[in-house]
Symmetry: D2
Subunit: 431 residues, 4 copies
Amino acid sequence: MKNQRISSELISENNEAALKHLQEDYDHLSTVLSRQNIDIEAVTTQAQAFEIAVPSWGVGTGGTRFARFPGIGEPRNVFEKLEDCAVINQLSQCTGSVSPHFPWDKVDDFTELKAFSDSYGLQWDSINSNTFQDQADQALSYKYGSLTNTDAATREQAIAHNLECIEWGKQLGSNRLTVWVGDGSNHPGQQHFQHSFERYLDSMKTIYSAIPDDWELHIEHKMFEPAFYSTVVQDWGSNILAAMELGDKAKSLVDLGHHAPNVNIEMIVSRLIQFKKLGGFHFNDSKYGDDDLDSGSIHPYQQFLIFNELVDAEARGQEGFNPSYMLDQSHNVTDPIESLINSAIEVQRSYIKALIVDRAALSDCQERNDALMASNTLKQAFNLDVSPILAMARYRQGGAINPLQTYRQSQYRAQVAEVRPSVAGSGSGIV
Amino acid sequence: MKNQRISSELISENNEAALKHLQEDYDHLSTVLSRQNIDIEAVTTQAQAFEIAVPSWGVGTGGTRFARFPGIGEPRNVFEKLEDCAVINQLSQCTGSVSPHFPWDKVDDFTELKAFSDSYGLQWDSINSNTFQDQADQALSYKYGSLTNTDAATREQAIAHNLECIEWGKQLGSNRLTVWVGDGSNHPGQQHFQHSFERYLDSMKTIYSAIPDDWELHIEHKMFEPAFYSTVVQDWGSNILAAMELGDKAKSLVDLGHHAPNVNIEMIVSRLIQFKKLGGFHFNDSKYGDDDLDSGSIHPYQQFLIFNELVDAEARGQEGFNPSYMLDQSHNVTDPIESLINSAIEVQRSYIKALIVDRAALSDCQERNDALMASNTLKQAFNLDVSPILAMARYRQGGAINPLQTYRQSQYRAQVAEVRPSVAGSGSGIV
Amino acid sequence: MKNQRISSELISENNEAALKHLQEDYDHLSTVLSRQNIDIEAVTTQAQAFEIAVPSWGVGTGGTRFARFPGIGEPRNVFEKLEDCAVINQLSQCTGSVSPHFPWDKVDDFTELKAFSDSYGLQWDSINSNTFQDQADQALSYKYGSLTNTDAATREQAIAHNLECIEWGKQLGSNRLTVWVGDGSNHPGQQHFQHSFERYLDSMKTIYSAIPDDWELHIEHKMFEPAFYSTVVQDWGSNILAAMELGDKAKSLVDLGHHAPNVNIEMIVSRLIQFKKLGGFHFNDSKYGDDDLDSGSIHPYQQFLIFNELVDAEARGQEGFNPSYMLDQSHNVTDPIESLINSAIEVQRSYIKALIVDRAALSDCQERNDALMASNTLKQAFNLDVSPILAMARYRQGGAINPLQTYRQSQYRAQVAEVRPSVAGSGSGIV
Amino acid sequence: MKNQRISSELISENNEAALKHLQEDYDHLSTVLSRQNIDIEAVTTQAQAFEIAVPSWGVGTGGTRFARFPGIGEPRNVFEKLEDCAVINQLSQCTGSVSPHFPWDKVDDFTELKAFSDSYGLQWDSINSNTFQDQADQALSYKYGSLTNTDAATREQAIAHNLECIEWGKQLGSNRLTVWVGDGSNHPGQQHFQHSFERYLDSMKTIYSAIPDDWELHIEHKMFEPAFYSTVVQDWGSNILAAMELGDKAKSLVDLGHHAPNVNIEMIVSRLIQFKKLGGFHFNDSKYGDDDLDSGSIHPYQQFLIFNELVDAEARGQEGFNPSYMLDQSHNVTDPIESLINSAIEVQRSYIKALIVDRAALSDCQERNDALMASNTLKQAFNLDVSPILAMARYRQGGAINPLQTYRQSQYRAQVAEVRPSVAGSGSGIV
C-alpha cells in the first residue's frame, strides 16, 4: 500500500462533486470522436498509460541571476522533494518517476532513499550529473569548463563525478544518465572550438564506456547560458554528431528552451527520430531564451506539433523509437507543485490531441499537396477539447478530476511549511 | 594630491618602454589624418575629454542563475569597490566616475564615503535604485512587482526606496537617478498590461516629483529577464512614452543588451535623440540575450554605428543632446578590473572613430543616394586603427600606454587578495 | 437582392447534411457555457456581428523573390477580384468588405466599380496606397524612397498619389487610408535616420491635412523588407510617435508579421490601446519574418492573446477604442479563396474564445498575483472548442457550415478558370 | 593576352597618383608588423593568391518580392554578365572565376561560351542548378517541391536538370555542383518531414552518382524562404547528415544569411571543418534574414571570426580542408559591379587580418583560460588597418589601388548602357 500525502477522502469528495459534469462532457466527446471512428475508451487508456518524469529540483522555487523569491514550505532535501513529487503524482496520476540531480540529491544511504521513494510508488528517472557549479568540497574549479577543461585533472574530476552518478543511479534503479554541461566561452578566441569539442568527445567516451548495456546516455544541447559566446554542444547538429561518435547507447535529448529564435523544433525532432537518435525531452516553454516557463503556457500549438511527430513515429513503428519525457521548468512565481501538476497535464494534453489526428487523411493531403487541408487536419485535432479524457484518466486511476482545486483545499503547502522552516539557501539550487 | 593604487613609477617605466613605438605610430596616423584635413591633436584632445562611468557592482565577479565563480581579492564593500575603480581610472584615464547601486552600496555615513571617493578623485555618477531583490530587512516582497505591484503598500515601499536614493545621491554629488525594475510576468494573464503600466506611471510620477531641478531621471527598458513573458517597460516605445508622460527631466536610457534579436539599436538612438529623450547608455555587448559581455567584444561595428549617431547629433548641435555613458557588464570569467579597463577603452575607440568620419562626404552621399560610398565613408573611419590616439591620450594624462600589461605587472589583484579574504556571498550582487 | 457566386442550393444541401451534428455539438456547448453563466446565444450573436476585411490583392496567388507559382483561374482585374471576395463572404459570412490597393485596383470609372461591389453586398475597407513599386507611367523612381526621398519632387509625387487615393476612397465609400512605405536603407550610412524620419513626418502631414474628418489615417510599421538595414517606420515606437505628431485622426496599424523575433505583440496592442492609438490590424501568421502565412496557422495562442486584449478593452469601455480588422496574407501554395475563408474564421475563432474568458476571475487572479490560475483562466477559454458557435453563426446568416467542403464541391475555381485564361504577370502583384 | 574592359592607361594613371601615399602607409605597416615578427611581403603574397568567385546573377540588380528597381546597362545574357565580371576582376584582381546558374546561363554552344570566358582570363566556378522556379518550357511544376516532390516524375525532372548541369559544367571546366532547393512547406502538416527528407536523400544519391571523381557536390542549407514553415535542408545539422549519407565528394556549403538569429556561425564552420565536410561559402551579410547585403557591411567582426577559423585550420594542416569562396549577394540599391568589387575586397580583408593573428599567443591564452587576452589577441589583428596590403596586392597584379574611383572614372556603366537597352525582365533573375 502506497503512502499518500493528500487525503484520499478529500480527493473522492471533490471528484464526486465534479463527476456529473465530467461524465456529460466525456459522453459528448465520445459521440464526437465516434463520428471519426475513434473509440474514446482506447484513447483514455493511452492517456492513463502516459508518463512524464518530474525533476527533483523542480519542486523548489526557481530564480534568476537577479533574485530568487522562495515560497513557504520549500523542501530542504531529497526526501522532502520526494514528498512533494508524491503529491504531484497522486493528483495527476501521470508523473510516477523522479529525475535526481547530483550532487544536490546525494545521500549517504541510497538504499534508504530507494525505500523511501518505493513507499510512495515513485521510480527514478534519468540521473543528472552536475559539473556546472563548484561544490564546497571540490578540488578543482569548473569556472573554465568541466568535461572540456584544458586541464586534464579537471576533466578527470568531472568524468569521475559522472561515473559516480552512474553508480548511484544503479542503486536507485535508474537506466539513464543525462549529461548537460555549461562549458563554453564568453569571448571570441577564449576557446579553440575544435579542440574543445575534441576534449568533450574524449571525456564522453570514458563516461560512455561505463554506461551499462541496458542504459542510455542522453546528451543535452543548449544554444547559450551560462556561456554567452559559445557553448560546446550548442545545437542538435553537434549533439547528434557526438551521439553518433559515442555509439548506440548515446542519444540526443531535446530541451524546448535551448534553441535559437524561430527554429522549427518539431522538425529537429523528426530528424532525430529518422536517424534513430532521439533520446528524450525536457519539456518547458519559453518566449525569449531558456525561460523555463510552464509547459504549453506560451506555445501550446508547438507542443502539439512536437507530439504529432512523436505519435506519427510510434504509429509508423519507427525503428529505435522510444523517447523519455521529463519536465524541466523553473517556477519563480508559482507554487512549484501546482505548476508541475498543471504542466504534466498540458504535455499529456498534447499527446492525446496528437493521438486523435486523422493520420490517414493527413497522409492523403500530404501526398496530394493539399496544404490547407493538411493544416486543418492537424487543427481539427488541436481544436478539440480533450480535457474530459484527461480528467477521466486521472479519475479512473485515483487521481483528482480537478487537481489544482483539490491541492489547494488540502492545505498541503501550509502544512509542510510548519515542519519545513524557511532557510536562506534552500535545498533547491537556483536553476 | 590624489591617492593612487598603482605605483606611478611602474606606469612610467612601462610607458617609457612603449613610447618609441607609440610615437612612430602616432606620427604616421597624424600623416594619414592630415590627408583628410584632420588635426590629430584635436582628436587626441577629445579622447582625453572622453569619460565613461564604471558601475560599482561591476568590479565584483558576475554570475548566472547556474553559478558564480568568484575570483580572489573580490571587494567586500563600497570602499573596496572604490579602490578598484580608482585602479581602472588611474590606468585608463577615462573612467572618472562611479555609479552606485543601493542598497548594496548604502553606508551609515555618506560624508565619509564622499571623502573617500574624493581622495581618489572619483565622482559619483547616476544612482541606481534596486527594487528587483528582496533585502533582509524589507517589510514587503517584490516577488510580484515593485513600482507596479497590485498592492499599494508595496508600491509605496518601492517609491520610498527611490526617494531615499535621491537623498543619498544628493549627499554624494550625483545628479541622476536611474530606475530599472524587474517587474513583469511569467504567464499570459498574470498581469493586466494596461493597469500594470498605469501603476508604473503613477509610481514614477511620485518619484519624478522628488527629482531636483538639475537632475535627470533615467528610465531603463528591457525586453525580458527576470520576467519571461512580459516586462513593464519592455522596449524604447514604452520607455519614451513614460518619459514623455513624466516631463522634461525624464529621459530614456539605452542598455545595448536589452533589445529583441536583430533590432537596429543605432536607429533607436537616433529616434531618442530626435525626440530629445536620450538620457544615456549602459554599454556592454551580447550575442544572444542580456549577456552583459565586454563592450565591443562581439559587435564592434554596431558600437561604432551608435557613436556615429552620437557624434552626428553633437556636430549638428541637436537641441537637448547630452547623454551620459556608463559600462554595465557582468564579468564572469575575467578579472573585472581588466575587463572594465579594456571595455572603457573600446567604447572610447568607437567614439574616436566616429569623430574622424568625413561627415561632409557622408552627407553628400546620403543626399545623392550613393549607398555604397556612404557605407564606405563609415567603413573608412572604422577601419583606421586609432589605437595610437587612445594610447597617447592615456599617456598624456598619466595613464598607461599598455594598461593591462601594467596592471598585471602591478600584482594588484594578488595584493588585495591578501587583505580581502574570500567570503561566500561577497559584497557584489550577482548581476 | 445580392448577386451570389455560389449556388445557394448547394450551400443549403450541404448545410442540411451537417446540421444534425452541429446542433448536437452546439447544444452541448450551450450546456458547458451555461455552467459558467454564459448564454451561448449572446456569443453567437457577437460571432454573427464579427467582420474582417479581405485585401483585394489577397485573392491572387502570392510569391517570393525567388518565384511565383500561379494557380488556375486567377483574377485579372479588380472586378474579378471582387467576384472572388464575394465567394469568400458568401461562404464565411464575416468578410463583408474589401480593401483595395492603388494603383493596382485603379479604374476609369469608380462609380461603375462601386455599383459592382454593391451588387455583391461588399463594402470598401481601408484604401492602400502604393509607393513601394515603380509604375510604368511614373515620372520619378522610388528606388531610393518615396515619402522620405531626398528629392523633393519624388516626395511630392508620392504625396500626390496618396491624395488621389483619398479621392478614390471617397468615391468608394471608404473612410480610411493605410500608408505603408518600403522606404529605408540597405547600408549603414545610406540614409540619415533623423532627416529621413523628418521628411517622412513632413510628407505625412500634407497627407494628413487631406484626410476627411470622419476618416482615419493608419500608419503601418515594419521591421525590415524590402529595406534590409533600416526601415523608416520600423516599429510601434516610431509608429506611435508619428501618429502623435500628426493628430487624432492618425492611428497605428499592427501587422502581426512586422516585428522583431520574440516580441510580445499582445503587449504592444495593449500599449496602443492605452494611448488611444490602435487603428487596426493586418492579420496573418509567421514563423520567421514577414512570412504572411495564414492567420492562426502557426501561433494560434498568440492570436487569442491579442484578442484577449481587444475584448478586454471593449469590456472596459476604453476610450477611443475602435480598431478595424483585415487579413493580409500571401497565399503561395493554396487556393487564395480557401485560405481567406479559413483565415477569416480562425480570427473569428480567437475573438469568440476571448469573449468567453471569465474576466472577473481573471481580474481577481491578477489582483491576487495568482499567476497559474490567471494563465489557466485564459487557457480554459482557449481550450474550449467553439467551432459550433462559428458554424452556427455562418449557418444562420446563409453561409456554409463547412465552407471549404462546399467551396470545393461548387467547382468555382474550375469554372472561373474557363473564363480567366492564365497570363504571365497577372493582375495581382507579388506581395 | 587577355581582353580588358577598362583602359589600362586609366588604371595606371590613377595608380600613379595614389602610389606615394600607399607606399608610405605600406612601409609603416611593414614596420608595425615586423615588431610582431611578421614579414609584410609574405602576407601581401598571400593577398595576391586570394580568390573569391563571383556569381553570374550577381551582376544584375536584385530585388524583393515587392519590387525590383533595375539600373541602366544591365547585362542581358551570360556573355554580358561575363563582361561585367571581367571588370570586377580587372580592378580587384581577386575574382578570377564566375559561378553560373542554369538554366539562366544556358547557351546553345558551351564551347563558344568557354572561349569567351577564356578571352577574359575567367574560370568557371561551381555550377548552380535551379529547381526553385518553373521555366517556360518545363513539363512539371516545382510549386510543391523539386527533389522532394511527392510526385516521382517531378523529382526525376529535377534530377535530370542537375545531371545536365554537371554535363555543362564539364564543358566549362568547372569541378563542382552546388545544390540549393527551395523545397519545404508553408503549413504545419503540409509535408511529412521524414518522408520529405528521405525523398531528398534519394534524389541526391542519383545526382551524386553522376558527380565526377575530381568534383565535389556542395549542399546548401537555409532556414527559411521561399518556404516559410519548414525547409528540407534547414540547417547545418541536416546538411552534414545529408553529406555524410552521400559520401566523400559531398560537402556542406555555408551561406552566411541562412541561419537562425543569433547563431554562432564561426562555430558551425569549425564543426564542419572538424568533420571534414566544409565545402565552401556563399559570402554576404545580413541584419534580419537572408538579406543578401554586401559582405562585411553589417557584421565585419563576424566575417573576421569566420576567417579566423579558416586560417587556423589551414595553419594546423587540418585534413580534408579546402573550401571554396564565392560571393552571393543581392544588389538592390547599388551598381552591382561596385558592390562586388567592394565585397570581394572586404572578404579578402578578413582573410588578411586573420593571417596576422598571433596564433601562438592565442593558443597560449586558450590553454591558460586567459579569456580577455585571447579576445584582445584577435582584436589586435582586427583593429589593424590592412588596407595597404590589399591595395598593394591589387597594384602589383595590375589592378586598381582605388578600384571604385577608377571604375567610376571609366564611365563603364554609361558606356554599356548605350549598347544594352533597358528591358523589362532582364537576363538576371530576381534573387
